[in-house]
């Protein structure tokens, strides 16, 4: 992420100008990802260069240009929502923003976004648990505690994702995936 993905998600709902996008972005992410309007317009400029957004042609009372999402932008946004976030240092803030944006966007199946992420986090926990078992068998307490720390963080993430699923209204249909 992805300020650009946040902006694409907001533009998928309706065309907007940069000031409105900044306000909506901060509202949608609960203030966890503050933006200044300069970042928004810089990002819009890059997105326009890359063909993800285009001027809507309309201006508001202050003469500000609105932007709308293009088909390429929608495709890019679809890929972002379909794939889990890699678990690196910046993952958690991006995850919070992504879930909040998904919930705020009626075009996105937020439950599916969460389930994809939940599966990825569980996979990471399986790997960490296997490594912890090896560390335990080798008597490496320090390594085990480091892995425990990562496991506790991942566990908290799963608990939060489960909480999110419980709080989001049921989607009309839920696809079954990856069944054995």
């Amino acid at each position: 992420m992805s300020v650009s993905h946040g902006i694409l998600s907001l533009l998928e709902e309706r065309p907007q100008h940069g000031y409105g996008l900044r306000e909506q972005f901060e509202a949608a992410t609960g203030g966890t990802w503050p933006l200044n309007v300069g970042q928004v317009y810089t990002t819009l400029g890059r997105l326009e260069r890359d063909g993800m957004v285009e001027p809507d042609g309309a201006t508001d009372a202050h003469g500000r240009n609105a932007y709308r999402i293009t088909d390429d932008g929608r495709a890019q946004l679809g890929r972002w929502y379909a794939e889990p976030i890699a678990r690196d240092g910046s993952a958690r803030e991006e995850l919070v923003a992504k879930v909040a944006l998904a919930v705020a966007n009626p075009a996105v199946d937020a439950r599916r976004v969460i389930h994809v992420q939940r599966a990825e986090t569980m996979r990471a926990m399986q790997v960490l648990t296997q490594r912890k078992r090896v560390a335990s068998q080798a008597g490496d307490v320090a390594q085990r505690l480091v892995l425990d720390s990562q496991l506790f963080h991942a566990e908290a993430e799963v608990r939060w994702l489960d909480h999110c699923i419980a709080q989001i209204p049921e989607a009309p249909t839920m696809p079954t995936e990856g069944t054995t």
Binding site: H115, M125, T129, T176
Partner: protein, 229 residues
């Protein structure tokens, strides 16, 4: 999968009728092979415990097939089912379910004695089972003289004593602290690595992460399976 210890196909379970109809399971498939530890997760009411009860023959499905140790148990007589359960599957519950008037080794040996094994031989096998998990020192203690973790580990030893190779565990770590809960999972994992199979219902991700596969249920449907890593 022909060598499954447990093989559920298109299992449904309904309670009530008409407006009061509840579909606890809506067509679940699940196979468990020797050596596998499979965790079942999902929110309350998703059908986790119903699935476990049907897998062990404690509840009957409304439709579908349940093969336990190669034998179809749907439609089986109560007597035959009880005999198959006794020799094929062990249960572990959150509240341990040890017999309070029997010592640890007597609890572990109990299923063998019910199968007709002489008490001396049953006690010897019970002691060997406790020795394998490092709990020989509690062999002659009664359940109320053991810690919660020791009780649960004795319960798992009882579930796997004799010829049984399948453990069905319903929230076995629910009453335990994190460290003790991990002892319990280590024991289950070791048993599976030695050739047993276990189906673990848990709502805690840290314990599910010990599994080879994680099945996620929602509203009686298998929503996703996180496979081996």
């Amino acid at each position: 999968m022909t060598d499954s210890i447990l093989d559920l196909r298109a299992v449904t379970r309904e309670h009530g009728t008409g407006d009061a109809l509840v579909q606890a399971l809506r067509g679940v498939d699940l196979q468990l092979a020797p050596g596998e530890l499979v965790a079942v997760m999902g929110p309350s009411g998703s059908g986790k415990s119903t699935l476990l009860n049907i897998a062990g023959g404690l509840d009957a499905p409304t439709s579908g097939s349940v093969r336990l140790a190669g034998t179809e148990i749907v439609g089986m007589s109560a007597t035959a089912l009880a005999a198959l359960r006794r020799t094929s599957v062990g249960y572990v519950f959150q509240d341990y379910n040890l017999v309070p008037t029997l010592s640890a080794v007597e609890n572990v040996a109990l299923p063998l004695e019910l199968d007709g094994v002489g008490w001396r031989d049953a006690r010897r096998q019970g002691l060997e089972a406790l020795d394998r998990i490092g709990l020989l020192e509690v062999a002659d203690r009664f359940p109320d003289e053991m810690s919660g973790g020791q009780r649960q580990r004795v319960a798992i030893a009882r579930a796997l004593v004799g010829p049984r190779q399948l453990v069905l565990a319903d929230e076995p770590t629910g009453a335990l602290d994190t460290t003790t809960g991990e002892f319990v999972l280590t024991q289950l994992r070791d048993a599976c690595d030695a050739g047993a199979a276990a189906l673990l219902v848990t709502h805690e991700a840290r314990y599910a992460a010990w599994a080879d596969r994680i099945v996620y249920l929602q509203d009686g449907l298998e929503l996703a399976t996180q496979g081996a890593v």
